[in-house]
């Protein structure tokens, strides 16, 4: 390729396509600038900065939604034609899956699905913060800048196709999160939580980048999809063994990268920051971190894991080891998360441990995926793992947000977050009753009982683990532990529900009144949990997840 050809290709083919796909993220960037300008020009006295943020995020959401629908329907949806045209979507751009930005990011239904979820979640959390008023009028632009900045990082994570982008995405979503955890800067707990989070987070990020450097050096590339094939090429016919330095160096690199991702997912040996950070941070930030940063990290883990598939003996052994180690981590996370949650007295801390446990359930899907890949399984089975994970994350988004939203609203009324403060909550006014009911639904779904969305997510993941068990028996052990854990988890969720519905309030005279808007908001985000469990939406989501996952494996 000659120089003009290269320039032509980059300028006229790659860049327009990239910008078209990247437009929602660019809208978010513009929103950040707009927020700062509003503050600088002192317009925030005329209208709140939160509305600027919400408007920008909504625009980005519409953009990703248009992309999603375009990909799903192939651009042939007459009702949305104007929308497609507004965002300039074309068949060669958004319509075609593949790499963009000269191979740094990859555009496929999987990435679009996760980006859609993330922006939707950002809209919901921003609505929540507007209702609870956690960043006040003066600090609004700082808070939303951090939140949107972190989200841009997460959206990059969904499409990361390059080890540099992987590291960069992790940094971009972590560093603003550190600041967000410490956002209540006058409070001792908040600053302590932020300190712990940043100290551990920075350390693990360093370890991770060392792993990236090893991996990149051994395999001679930064491109994630090439990793597996290069490893296969280098190993040739040699089996995977601990005496082969190339294999060990690669495994070491993978291990260190997975450590970095496991930290973001708060999986067990690297979970210690999670309860502290969630307890110290405000409930809104806790909700944001518990869902968004996890979803992004799972997207990264899936991409990273999928790079190592192949038909050679060495790479299959590598996959198996990878899968089983993730299985062990999954067992540990589920068990420890659920057991530790039982003794908690602070509801945010309890939810943090519940998050750890749920990360354990979700990583089970990836463990199963890797084990399946090591046995040259049917792509349909492998796709089922990712499908289950996606379904789970979609439901988890709503149920965790509901739980944290309830914590935030109750805190605004009672100024307390310990479980005792919830005693007799259901005796309050009608909106409070609605709130309690929503909490019930969210918790039942978090446990994974049948009519709710959470059940079907968990069911899908367990089913794929069952299938993977036929490749290696260890997955059956993981599955059994997962089942047991579901039973454990029932108790501590019930403990909270008992406080809410059965125990009498300590102070009978004062009942908690939740403002109408807040109740309506919680009801709105609870509805999808029900809908995803027992309506046609569920079938829709399953089908979408199925198509998306199948695309990764065809």
């Amino acid at each position: 390729m000659s120089v003009p050809e290269l320039l032509n290709h980059v300028l006229h083919t790659d860049l327009p396509r990239s910008v078209q796909i990247f437009a929602p993220e660019l809208v978010l960037c513009v929103t950040i600038i707009a927020l700062l300008l509003v503050r600088m020009l002192k317009w925030h006295h005329k209208f709140p900065t939160s509305w600027v943020a919400l408007f920008g995020t909504l625009a980005a959401f519409v953009g990703v939604f248009a992309q999603f629908m375009y990909m799903k329907t192939g651009g042939e949806l007459p009702q949305m034609r104007e929308l497609f045209e507004f965002w300039g979507l074309t068949q060669a751009g958004v319509g075609t899956a593949g790499e963009y930005f000269t191979g740094l990011l990859v555009h496929d239904p999987f990435a679009v699905f996760f980006r859609l979820g993330l922006v939707l979640f950002l809209v919901l959390v921003q609505a929540l913060t507007i209702l609870t008023g956690i960043p006040d009028q003066e600090d609004g632009q700082d808070f939303y800048t951090l939140m949107i900045g972190a989200t841009i990082g997460m959206m990059l994570a969904c499409g990361a196709n390059n080890l540099l982008m992987l590291f960069m995405a992790v940094e971009m979503m972590s560093v603003p999160s550190y600041a967000m955890v410490g956002f209540l800067k006058g409070r001792r707990l908040s600053s302590e939580a932020a300190l712990k989070y940043v100290v551990y987070g920075a350390g693990i990020a360093g370890v991770m980048v060392y792993g990236v450097s090893l991996l990149a050096g051994v395999l001679g590339t930064l491109s994630i999809p090439e990793l597996g094939s290069r490893f296969e090429l280098l190993m040739g016919d040699q089996p995977f063994s601990l005496t082969n330095p190339t294999a060990v160096a690669t495994a070491l690199g993978i291990m260190l990268v997975v450590v970095g991702l496991a930290f973001k997912l708060s999986l067990v040996p690297f979970h210690f920051w999670c309860p502290d950070a969630f307890e110290g941070a405000s409930a809104e930030v806790g909700g944001f971190l518990s869902v968004a940063s996890k979803a992004a990290a799972f997207a990264l883990l899936v991409r990273f894991a999928l790079a190592f598939q192949g038909s050679g003996e060495a790479i299959q052994t590598l996959c198996l080891i990878f899968g089983i180690s993730l299985g062990v981590v999954s067992c540990l996370s589920m068990t420890l998360g659920n057991l530790a949650a039982y003794t908690q007295t602070n509801l945010k801390r309890l939810l943090a441990y519940s998050t750890i446990a749920h990360a354990g359930y979700m990583v089970m899907a990836i463990s199963a995926l890797m084990v399946l890949l090591s046995g040259s399984a049917d792509p349909v089975d492998s796709a089922a793992c990712v499908e289950g994970l996606m379904y789970y994350i979609a439901v988890y988004l709503f149920m965790n947000l509901t739980a944290f939203a309830v914590v935030a609203f109750v805190r605004n009324e009672t100024y307390r977050e310990d479980i005792e403060a919830y005693n007799g909550l259901s005796a309050g006014g009608p909106m409070t009753k609605l709130l309690c009911f929503c909490l019930l639904i969210a918790f039942v779904s978090l446990v994974g009982l049948p009519p709710m969305g959470g059940f079907f997510g968990k069911f899908a993941i367990f089913a794929s683990a069952l299938k993977a068990g036929s490749v290696h028996w260890f997955l059956w052990v993981v599955l059994a532990i997962g089942g047991l854990n579901t039973v454990f988890s029932l108790f501590y969720y019930l403990k909270v529900l008992r406080a809410v519905f059965i125990l009498p309030s300590a102070d009978e005279s004062r009942t908690v009144e939740i403002p109408g808007f807040n109740g309506a908001y919680v009801a709105l985000i609870t509805l999808p949990i029900l809908a995803l469990g027992m309506s046609w939406v569920m079938g829709d989501l399953t089908a979408t997840a199925h198509d998306v996952a199948a695309y990764l494996f065809h």
Binding site: L163, L164, F167, M168, E171, V175, P176, Y178, A179, G182, K185, G186, R187, R188, L189, S191, E192, A193, A194, L195, K196, V198, V199, A202, G203, A205, G206, V207, V209, Y210, V212, S213, L214, A216, G217, V218, G220, T221, L222, P275, D276, E279, G280, A340, T343, Q344, T345, N346, R349
Partner: protein
């Protein structure tokens, strides 16, 4: 190729990495821990640049190390702001004295 070879550089990188990890594990001063982080990142950077010279990685390694430097600077800025904030609230930056969050 230069006579030192790749392993010399990788050794330096590994020593920096391990010293950084030891530093993170043993220091109680939050700023001390951050210095450990910087060492770890530099260990990785030496790897990147050495690989970029000697292996198939090529210029990508150098660019990766550039971004690592920039991101590390950003991280250090936020970390220090958090440390200052912690100091304002607790009058210490001893990590071991951050014990109010327990459970």
């Amino acid at each position: 190729m230069d006579p030192v070879g790749l392993s010399g550089y990788l050794t330096v990188g590994a020593v920096l990495f391990v010293c950084g990890v030891i530093c993170m594990a043993t220091k109680r001063n939050a700023v001390g821990v951050l210095m450990g982080v910087e060492l770890v990142l530099n260990g990785a950077n030496i790897n990147f640049v050495a690989f970029s010279r000697h292996t198939a990685l090529g210029l990508d390694g150098q660019i990766a190390s550039l971004f690592v430097i920039v991101l590390a600077a950003a991280e250090a800025a936020v970390a220090l702001a958090i440390v200052l904030n912690f100091y304002n609230n607790h009058l210490t930056i001893d990590v071991d004295r951050a014990v109010e969050l327990k459970g």
